[in-house]
Symmetry: C2
Subunit: 405 residues, 2 copies
């Protein structure tokens, strides 16, 4: 990518106020190991510490934008090539997350925190998932799993780890042939098809994205599973019917936390007395808002809940948690794999969606990787049942030992 024209207006010396602003910005950001290169090439900061990256600003007002709304403007400046990160973007973001800078300062974030009410808007959501099956097919695994994989053996590649993830979920749920499974938020149908094919269950899978569902439908038909897997284009709130197991992978992030009890009610309505449920979701160690740039530009309305928040789904309906597993290190590996694949097809994505889209998505993937690495994000698998369920063996050993599909 060439240097865009707007660097032309950066030849002059920075005004004293730009220099002062840059110094204040670094201080407000808790003096990260960063050198700021102002629009005229002057370097600010990074003294005393070995800088992890150099941030080259290509607009004279970049400093002021970053002061006003650091997280959103960083993302936007980076996407538009008006800010360049010279060095390891992910490592830089890890430093910023460790410092807590992603929610710390700036005028607009403060105002936003006071006034903002985030809404989950199905239209916005479908926009993300309807980016095009071809786009996701370029860098996801074969089963099109847009969620954390499970690296059950050290040398697994992404395809193996995503298959292992699906098996891990099925084994935790102890699916038996002929059982009825409801999937809430089925993406491209990879898990629904896998459950039907490998575990002999009947699946009804819900999703609101028509593009994803068309893909899922074709996959099921191709494998002769159309009788066993039904795909329904609808919201989780409209799930009906009775099931032996309910599974939801990567949907909770899109359910506003004010609707957690509603989600619990849907599960309660569907699950038999001996039924089991599993929710797989990104989460946090304590409640916190989503990175505001991600929320604005990539994935509107997402929320990664703490476990205390997750319990608001289950406790009102007296579900017993049987098992919670934290797969955070697996999301680090998953994101490393995605990022590698994504960067390898840069030319194709730039050609299809433009350079700004590529850079925004690269920042989103690097930022997510950084957040999982430093523990800002976690990944919870929550297995639950009615309070006196006797469907499970005494130990979890069989999940790890006597596996056959």
């Amino acid at each position: 990518m060439g240097t865009p024209e707007l660097t032309v207006d950066c030849k002059r010396n920075p005004s004293p106020i730009e220099r002062f602003g840059a110094r204040y910005l670094l201080k407000a950001a808790k003096n990260p190991p960063v050198t700021l290169i102002l629009s005229n090439g002057e370097a600010i900061g990074g003294a005393g510490v070995a800088p992890v990256v150099r941030l080259r600003l290509r607009r004279r007002d970049a400093v002021f934008r970053l002061l006003l709304d650091p997280v959103v403007c960083f993302g936007d400046l980076y996407s538009r090539e008006e800010l360049e990160v010279e060095g390891d973007l992910t490592r830089f973001l890890e430093h910023m997350y460790r410092l807590g800078v992603d929610r710390g300062f700036g005028l607009l974030p403060t105002l936003r925190a006071i006034f903002q009410r985030l809404r989950v808007d199905n239209e916005v959501l479908t926009r993300h998932y309807d980016l095009g099956n071809d786009f996701y097919r370029l860098w996801l695994d074969r089963a099109m799993q847009y969620s954390c994989a499970y690296y059950s053996t050290p040398g697994s590649d992404l395809d193996q780890a995503q298959t292992a993830k699906m098996d891990h979920i099925c084994r935790k749920l102890r699916l038996a042939p002929g059982e009825r499974v409801i999937e809430a938020g089925c993406g491209w149908g990879g898990l629904a098809v896998h459950m039907a094919r490998r575990y002999g269950v009947r699946v009804i899978a819900y999703n609101i994205s028509s593009r994803q569902l068309r893909f899922a439908h074709r996959q099921a038909a191709r494998l002769g599973l159309s009788d066993q897997v039904e795909f329904v284009q609808d919201d989780y709130r409209n799930i009906r019917g009775e099931c032996d197991a309910l599974v939801s992978v990567g949907m909770l992030e899109h359910v506003g936390k004010e609707r957690y009890s509603t989600l619990g009610g849907v599960i309660d309505r569907c699950l038999t007395d001996r039924g089991r449920g599993l929710i797989h979701s990104i989460g946090r160690v304590k409640p916190a808002a989503t990175n505001i740039w991600i929320n604005k530009r990539i994935f509107q309305g997402v929320h990664a809940p703490s476990l205390q928040e997750v319990m608001a789904i289950l406790e009102p309906w007296s579900f017993a948690v049987l098992d919670i597993e934290n797969l955070r290190p697996h999301y680090v590996k998953t994101l490393e794999a995605w990022l590698q694949r994504f960067e390898a097809i840069q030319d194709r994505i730039v050609a299809d969606h433009g350079p700004q889209f590529f850079r925004a998505w690269r920042l989103y993937l690097c930022g997510s990787l950084a957040a999982f690495r430093v523990g800002d994000l976690q990944l919870y698998q929550v297995l639950f049942s009615r309070p006196q369920c006797d469907r499970f063996p005494l130990t979890r050993g069989s999940v790890y030992t006597d596996f056959q599909t």
Copy 2:
């Protein structure tokens, strides 16, 4: 046990009001499968359903006492042989718990719910644990574990299952030789000694009961572990020092929930950056008060928290939950074993502590068994660390496979 004298005054016909009261009692208790035998031998209720038990009342005012404060008076009447349960006591209690009768009605419970503030009183606690080491030795396992065992293999006896429990905890924590472990609430020191002996760690174990600590001290000395295990008579709030692992088994039940964040702060103060913690506690699927009779007569100030409540320990201090396992079915088996052993030594306990003590404890054990069977109580093992801990392998498989001590 002979019929006590007070049946003498029960020969008259019941007054209409006693009969009316008995009918009202059964109705208020949601018509359980029970026949009430009034003081004159007249049977009330149980029509239409096969009664699970006959409750024989041996005082004329028993009906009114049960109406006033059903749970406390049932326990007290039963303990004093003024009420006899003819049939399976545990099965009867299971029915009552399923009906939710243990918190449903009665005048006093309602008033109590309004006015009561439960306090955790160390004096009351030590009274329970200081009942005498000899008493507990009669029916607990060899390692004196007064908490849920772990039946890792189907044929395990209580001793094996308690050893397996200790190993399960140590393996989850991945204890390595030379590490420093703090135990909060160590009982008779069984786990502290086991960790030192089998895993080569150095343990500082806290407890407030002097009798238990004397026992623990002797055990450690007998095994030549006095250099490796230090027992401290103090409250968890006074725990000091740094450790690689912190473990607490069966203590959380005695920490008032208003002090959960304080407990979290103690853990935060002690645990290194790579440290791990494990809390093993009775819990519930949703917040609820402790059975009031148990709270008054057996175990004052106990509280079995829901997971949402448990998270109040960890979230304020940004601990990441790595693993939660629900061992409810194991507590059913543990209590069955305790009850069997306890009943087998009835004569000895009656001789040492009197018949009322025996009956009260039998009711406590049967009631706990019933509560775990119907899912009114659960058992959570919560493993946690700092948010980005990298001390653990990618899967939990090694907990189940490559075990050696």
